[in-house]
Symmetry: C2
Subunit: 308 residues, 2 copies
């Protein structure tokens, strides 16, 4: 059954909600609610729910909609299986990024070359390139063709990203416009605790990296300066591109989550200076552990690295 791409995407997003515990057995899925949440109309949501019903994750009740089926707790994601296979555009994008980082494609290419290499339609190619543009490593040439920019190809890229984060993240906390947001604090505390309890050993690597990024991005939001936030989001996107190629060190994540929780505590107690310092320490720790590995990176491409 070749469902529409969007429906398939929505389906995987819904199943993620179940995996992360945001939806539990027996919960009712309201179509409109989910549609709003994902920013789409009800059509693809409905289709997605039908897909998931066929897969056995949901159950459809006549004229009452879809409900989460009872799932045996053993439905756990294999911790070792860190294979990436998100979804179509996503996948092509990663392939392009990897090819560029590994110098398998030239710095200047025509659209035709790319379409042939990755077997894409014009619109798919356009999506892919749009992403690369947004993340800052591709641009259209004035005439025909595209140019890829030599950003973050080197092993030092990690270090540079962390140097940058070490500057802006602690500073953001000290901005005069910084304002504590209890809701964010509470939400992040919940997430971090859940990570410690169950997620670290269960969720796919991609998801763990994502959670780590979210923590920092939510915190920097409280500076109430969108440019701090935007900058962090962008370097994080770049970082993900690099980390995608590595394995996650799950043991390291426990310490990391504890540090995150400690920062939240300091913030909540109003110890702003201390929180800022803790943040800097937290980041410099990640950098220190990363550097020696980074130096010998080109030799072993799949070294373990932390995912702060």
């Amino acid at each position: 059954m070749p469902a529409s791409p969007l429906a398939r995407n929505i389906a995987s997003q819904i199943s993620l909600l179940v995996t992360t515990g945001e939806l539990s057995s027996g919960d009712h899925l309201r179509t409109q609610h989910l549609a709003d949440k994902f920013g789409v109309s009800r059509s693809p949501v409905r289709e997605a729910m039908q897909i998931l019903a066929e897969e056995g994750l949901l159950e459809q009740k006549e004229n009452r909609g879809f409900f989460v089926k009872d799932v045996p707790e053993s439905g756990i994601i294999e911790p070792i299986n860190d294979e990436p296979k998100p979804f179509e555009v996503e996948n092509d994008y990663q392939r392009l990024a990897e090819d560029w980082l590994m110098d398998r494609i030239p710095a200047e290419v025509t659209e035709g070359m790319l379409r042939e290499r990755y077997d894409l339609t014009k619109a798919q190619l356009s999506d892919m390139l749009m992403r690369a543009v947004r993340e800052g490593w591709a641009e259209r040439k004035q005439g025909y063709g595209w140019r890829f920019l030599p950003v973050a190809k080197t092993p030092e890229a990690f270090e540079q990203i962390y140097r940058f984060r070490m500057l802006i993240e602690p500073a953001a906390i000290l901005e005069p416009s910084f304002k504590l947001d209890r809701k964010i604090i509470e939400e992040q505390r919940r997430l971090q605790q859940r990570m410690l309890e169950t997620d670290i050993m269960r969720l796919p690597a991609e998801r763990l990296i994502h959670n780590g990024s979210i923590f920092h991005e939510e915190l920097i939001k409280m500076s109430n300066n969108p440019f701090f936030h935007l900058s962090l989001v962008r370097v994080n996107q770049m970082r993900r591109l690099l980390e995608y190629r590595s394995r996650v060190d799950r043991n390291r994540l426990f310490t990391q989550c504890e540090e995150h929780l400690a920062i939240l505590d300091l913030l909540e107690r109003g110890e702003i200076l201390e929180a800022s310092y803790a943040m800097r320490k937290h980041l410099s720790g990640a950098l220190a552990r990363k550097s020696p590995i980074a130096r010998s990176w080109s030799q072993h491409a799949h070294e373990k690295i932390p995912a702060s």
Copy 2:
């Protein structure tokens, strides 16, 4: 004579070279050289030169190519005429940006609406949106349509941008990877001196703002951390969007150029700490002058602002 859009663009870029003195009367324009400089092939360059020859700026000599014609020194740009009319895509993009900043279009639109409103083909629209995506204020919705993000619409945006720059620019100079590049220093000194001598009263506002941005962007490059540079480039793009709506205070620019030159001096003498401090001072000065105006901005939309 409806020349190709690219050729027309190249033509205006070439005439800029003449205006800024990079090319003088009698100089020979080598096609390949210019093509490389602009990252295009010889065809559009050649076409551009033909356009300019017809306009009387260049002179074509049989089998020897194009040369800059003698231009009477009175060919000065009117200082008062700060009317924006760059070029097609550029122009449409500005209109879109302005419409969004002024809340004349909704946050969520379909491609069709935009195409109709601005009378664009699919490719043109795609270019325009690609730019908005790159500059961080538009994104594709999961389903159909686009969403514009509420960034920098408020009067405080200026202040936020300057707070951010006050953090990263002085810090970039102090990064361990910072390395003085005499070539950059010399080039910038030349530019700033030329600004003081002639450009400030001659060049169009758009160009002045551009020069100011370039100074800071070139300096931050010397940190050898591309993420510092990239972040600055991005907030500058956003800033230009806002400043485009204001007039430039040309008198203020003299002071500004002198501050720029002072920073260059400090850097060249190796007084890094002092340079970093001067940079911070320079930026905070701009912020201070800007703020009171910003506060009453919504009332008078075309107030004078500096263009540091």
